[in-house]
């Protein structure tokens, strides 16, 4: 069972729809009690970092989310929140990964960066199994994480940024797998498979 974190940000409906389409078991939860029963967590997120962190604090989820043993997938804002800090509203984030999420430079690409962009996976990764490399995924964001030690895939829209990150059982993607057609559904299937296969 995958737990989708409901923290008053957008994107829950889309992630739920995509998980239904691939036939994955999931639940939507707001509290630690509801989510700790799950064998995988997805933190979706359409919205702004400051409000998102405030909601996570209010729901008492920050420590829980930053010390998980089960697989975790942060989508878009959910991926950015894994980092130490976000320039968006000067927000301190979950500090699972080092680095600062920065506003994209409008001199080299249009901001928000919206559309299908290539994702280049740097080394074989179970979440990208069965996908072309590079593959197209759908992006919609104004902030991005710089390429760093945790980067597993990069994208380029005039600037290079980390489009996927991983550390231990933490994964994050800047794109929206739930909106990326067949490639996105395959990616989510891979995550669901990973959640089932890893011992708790």
């Amino acid at each position: 069972m995958i737990g989708i974190v409901d923290y008053e940000m957008g994107g829950i409906a889309s992630v739920s729809n995509a998980l239904s389409q691939i036939g994955a078991d999931f639940t939507v939860g707001r509290t630690r009690t509801e989510l700790s029963k799950c064998d995988g967590i997805i933190l979706p997120g359409i919205g702004a970092a400051p409000g998102a962190m405030t909601s996570l604090h209010d729901q008492g989820l920050t420590t829980f989310l930053s010390s998980l043993k089960t697989p975790f997938l942060g989508v878009c804002l959910g991926m950015q929140l894994l980092h130490t800090f976000s320039e968006e509203g000067d927000t301190t984030c979950l500090k699972v990964l080092p680095g600062t999420v920065k506003r994209m430079n409008h001199a080299v690409c249009k901001v928000p960066h919206i559309g299908w962009n290539e994702v280049q996976v740097l080394s074989n990764h179970p979440l990208f199994e069965g996908l072309k490399n590079p593959a197209y995924f759908y992006f919609s964001h104004s902030y991005a994480a710089p390429v760093g030690p945790a980067t597993t895939a990069v994208s380029d829209c005039g600037v290079r940024f980390a489009s996927a990150v991983s550390k231990d059982r933490y994964f994050g993607v800047q794109f929206h797998p739930e909106k990326s057609g067949d490639a996105g559904l395959q990616f989510l299937k891979n995550f669901a498979k990973l959640c089932k296969s890893l011992p708790r």
Binding site: G10, A13, S14, N17, A18, S20, Q21, I46, G47, A48, H106, A107, V108, C109, K110, V111, P112, H113, I114, G115, W116, N117, E118, Q120, N133, P134, Y136, Y138, F139, S140, H141, S142, V154, D156, C157, G158, V159, R160, H176, E178, K179, S180, G181, D182, G184, L185
Partner: protein
């Protein structure tokens, strides 16, 4: 394994590497944005957005003299377009009423459950409540229309709650002298507002994309105004979606290539003279534009 694709940003003096003149956007920033094509990789693709006009829960084709032909079920057609490789879907409510009834939200929900590509919804959206309700029904973006001219604050109020990525502003421009003025209600009302300045205002207020339609002197909106598209692409820093109400593939490719639009709205299949979304994308790709195939 194909090589990495990194865009290189060249200083202005190095533009002899380019096989094309610098766009004005590039000149404005003093850089040329190019792609190295190692491994055939490119950067952001141009999007083909399939548009479905809906009336009373059905996809319709509004022909001349306001005749309406039933084309099919929104969820079924959305699944077909998604399968054909549409990059996005747009549901456009073409009913005259501005009130959104529960069946409309249920229809959006039904479509969102069938597809896994971005879904925009537009037509007569007037309140924050409608915006929030559409987004929670599974829409990813809402298109806000001419009413913005009357109530520009809606954007400023909605943006902090939903983010710019979820807000698309419709801009209708009518050529006047050297520039364009904002047209509302599809040509029935003309304002004195400069269309480019207006586009800047709505993006400053939080619109993350512009849907650009041009209205000609006769008040009809068939075809694209390539100058208007390019001017907006250069001067406003958010993606531009070209809407020309035409199924002509040459014109649509021109909107992307000459108009430099980021995306083009393809009208319901019935307008496309039997051309599938995939064939349209292949045609656009044959013009040298990056497309997700």
């Amino acid at each position: 394994m194909p090589g990495f694709s990194f865009s290189r940003i060249l200083p202005n003096y190095a533009n002899h590497y380019l096989d094309r003149p610098l766009s004005q956007r590039e000149r404005a920033f003093g850089i040329a944005i190019t792609e190295t094509r190692l491994g055939g990789a490119v950067m952001l693709t141009r999007r083909i957005i399939a548009c479905l006009e809906v009336l009373d829960g059905r996809v319709v084709n509004k022909t001349q003299f306001d005749n309406v032909a039933d084309v099919g079920d929104p969820a079924e057609l959305s699944a077909i377009y998604s399968g054909e490789g549409a990059d996005e879907l747009m549901l456009l409510d073409v009913s005259v009423s501005n009130e959104k009834w529960p069946p409309f939200f249920e229809m959006v929900e039904r479509v969102a459950k069938r597809v896994a590509i971005p879904l925009s919804v537009g037509g007569g959206i007037l309140t924050i409540d409608d915006i929030m309700r559409l987004l929670s029904s599974g829409a990813d973006k809402v298109l806000l229309n001419s009413m913005l001219v009357e109530e520009p604050l809606l954007f400023a109020r909605a943006a902090p709650r939903v983010g710019p990525d979820a807000l698309v502003a419709a801009v209708e421009g009518r050529r006047q002298g050297d520039g364009w003025v904002v047209d509302v209600k599809s040509g029935t009302e003309v304002t004195e507002l400069d269309a480019i300045e207006w586009a800047k205002t709505v993006t400053d207020c939080g619109a993350g994309e512009l849907l650009v339609t041009s209205v000609n002197r006769e008040g009809t909106n068939n075809g694209f105004d390539l100058d208007l598209l390019r001017e907006l692409t250069w001067r406003v820093n958010v993606p531009v979606i070209a809407s020309g109400n035409t199924g002509n593939k040459e014109e649509m490719a021109d909107a992307l290539k000459i108009g430099e639009a980021d995306a083009v709205l393809a009208p319901s299949a019935s307008h496309l003279n039997g051309l599938s979304i995939r064939e349209l994308k292949q045609f656009v790709a044959s013009k040298g534009l990056p497309v997700r195939l």
